[in-house]
């Protein structure tokens, strides 16, 4: 599981990805926990129906009780009875810039998380392990902020129009040229919202009679875009190239389902880093398959742009591949650039087509000028064009933080999913009570984490997801690791059965192998 044989020389560096299996005892106990909660859920629903207990969730009106029931499916049951009990770990209001440290408003609940009241106290300087602040550009002081403030005073905040009407500013043109240069593609186009970039542009690229091959664990925006387009969708197993090849072969050999005509287009949808698993796509193999079977590749680099690669150009640079091999490179500015919005990069004809036919270009308001300036400044900083080495230092700091943090967590004995180089670190919790307990205990110790449970992950595989940042110093990481160690001992989270031998202080290079003892 640790080392993949270099597939005919496609990989220039070792690809270490690891998804340790759930221990049997832990799985059984998780089901026991969910069973107990389900029984109590039925009891509470019974009491709510017979008016023994006050019903505080949404129900149908009296006149509509005989209609088709709206709230009886599993998702709503889960919402009422399980999610409500641990709801205080989510939607926590923050009241400062989400940098390496963040301030949070304290809130308590007197009726078991149905309503919250603010005590008025602000918890200061919580170490922020949950924000997608990979390169640390979420700052309230610095060159990016000054440039954005200047543009705000020059252009104002609103654009009041779409790109095709009166909303195409010279700032947008400057941004798009810069993005194209950054990625190494011919041309790029920027949109105001990352989710909308996916969901509004995939329908413009494919339609009925086309085939979409999408990864099992793709983001909701990709799934929505694929469904809106009307193309046939087939799912391949997560990051599994044999599954993808089989689907491609079947598609070419059998063609469309009823008429047996060849597909008009085959589009493969993958992401650079999958945010729930922390895994990196096997891009060299996907590109080899794409060329062999003559299909198109749509790469969503939402989490990997700025976070991977020696100069932060994303997963294509991480593997040392040619950006022209990827037909549509999509990404967002929300994660590494500290702004908001998305972009699509590719050949000039493709982008010119999208400028005319994309729903986002025609109907969505264009990006706000200060946001555009934040992206321009941060991108120039990463590329080194502002004359300093701050950008390069940040990219290297992120890589070091990632390796250090992952190695230390694995040594402590937690089960960590994903690739060794991805800055998204999921730590497995499994049991439902531990989801709530972990969030609360970490907040007591002044560390803010994001815990993820059922609808976003399979029901027994709940996890805590850490997002590392270049703004985290080694001291912050050490504090966080010490607290995670304590909480791990308190809640018994150290499930891993592979014990990692602590590495000596050697620099990590291609010849350093993981030493494991089972």
């Amino acid at each position: 599981i640790n080392h993949i044989v270099h597939n005919g020389g496609l990989y220039k560096r070792p690809f270490n990805e690891d998804f340790e299996e759930t221990p049997m005892l832990v799985a059984v106990l998780t089901y026991v926990g969910y069973g107990v909660l389900t029984l109590f859920g039925y009891l509470r629903d019974f009491m709510r129906q017979w008016k023994i207990e006050k019903c505080q969730n949404a129900t149908e009106r009296e006149e509509q009780k005989d209609f088709v029931p709206l709230y009886q499916d599993f998702e709503n049951f889960y919402n009422r009875n399980l999610y409500m009990r641990i709801r205080d770990s989510w939607n926590r209001p923050i009241c400062s810039v989400p940098g390496a440290k963040v301030d949070m408003m304290e809130r308590i609940s007197h009726d078991y998380n149905w309503t919250f009241t603010y005590t008025g106290r602000v918890i200061k300087d919580i170490i922020n392990m949950g924000s997608y602040n990979y390169l640390g550009f979420a700052q309230k002081a610095g060159t990016c902020q000054e440039a954005a403030a200047k543009v705000l005073s020059q252009y104002g905040a609103g654009v009041c129009s779409t790109r095709q009407e009166m909303g195409n500013l010279d700032k947008h043109e400057e941004l798009e040229k810069l993005v194209a240069r950054f990625l190494g593609v011919e041309s790029a186009m920027a949109y105001g919202m990352g989710f909308a970039t996916n969901s509004m542009n995939i329908p413009a690229l494919v339609g009925k009679g086309c085939l979409i091959l999408s990864d099992e664990l793709n983001h909701a925006s990709l799934v929505l875009g694929a469904r809106l387009s009307g193309a046939t969708i087939r799912i391949f197993k997560h990051n599994n190239m044999q599954s993808l090849e089989k689907l491609l072969k079947d598609a070419i050999v059998h063609g469309q389902p009823r008429t047996r005509r060849p597909w008009k287009k085959i589009l493969i949808l993958v992401e650079g880093i999958y945010s729930m698993e922390g895994s990196i796509v096997r891009l060299p193999e996907v590109i080899a398959l794409k060329k062999k079977y003559k299909s198109y590749l749509y790469l969503d680099e939402a989490h990997s742009i700025g976070a991977l690669g020696p100069t932060g150009r994303g997963v294509v640079e991480y593997f040392g591949l040619n950006p022209e091999d990827v037909d549509v490179m999509m990404g967002t500015f929300t994660k590494s650039f500290g702004a908001a919005g998305g972009y699509i990069g590719g050949k000039k004809e493709l982008i010119d087509y999208l400028r005319t036919y994309s729903h986002s270009a025609v109907y969505a308001t264009s990006m706000s000028p200060p946001v555009v300036e934040q992206i321009i400044t941060s991108m120039k900083c990463i590329m080194g064009e502002d004359g300093t080495t701050v950008g390069k230092a940040r990219v290297q700091q992120l890589a070091e933080n990632t390796r250090y943090f992952r190695r230390r967590l694995k040594e402590m004995g937690f089960i960590i999913y994903g690739n060794e180089d991805s800055p998204v670190v999921p730590l497995m919790l499994y049991m439902p009570a531990k989801i709530g307990a972990f969030g609360r205990e970490m907040l007591k110790r002044n560390i803010g984490v994001v815990v993820v449970g059922f609808p976003a992950t399979p029901i027994i595989e709940s996890r805590a997801r850490f997002c590392l940042s270049a703004a985290h110093t080694k001291e912050m990481l050490d504090t966080a690791l010490k607290e995670i160690n304590e909480v791990g001992d308190l809640l018994q989270l150290k499930y891993s059965r592979h014990r990692l031998v602590p590495l000596l202080d050697r620099p990590f290079d291609e010849t350093t192998y993981e030493e494991t003892e089972d």
Binding site: V32, Y34, L37, R85, I86, A433
Partner: protein, 80 residues
């Protein structure tokens, strides 16, 4: 002090039980209901064990004794 560390250990074990059975998340009246049910089941199990297990064990013991006892008598008579 050994007593203190023993008490801490027992409290930690209780916390683990709470987390695994999700009684950590329950409201107090639900906890009382759950613990009452569990303790009742446990007490009934122990009571059943106390009543039936000695009887079963002594019956099984007598059965095996009878089996080996017969063999001994047979060998003795053959040798004679």
């Amino acid at each position: 002090m050994d007593i203190k560390s023993m008490k801490n250990y027992l409290y930690w074990l209780y916390c683990q039980f709470e987390l695994i059975t999700c009684s950590y998340l329950m409201e107090p009246w639900e906890k009382i209901l759950f613990y009452t049910f569990n303790v009742t089941m446990l007490v009934m199990l122990l009571y059943t064990t106390y009543i039936f297990v000695p009887v079963h064990i002594s019956t099984a013991f007598q059965f095996f004794l009878h089996l080996f006892g017969n063999q001994q008598e047979n060998t003795v008579s053959v040798v004679k």
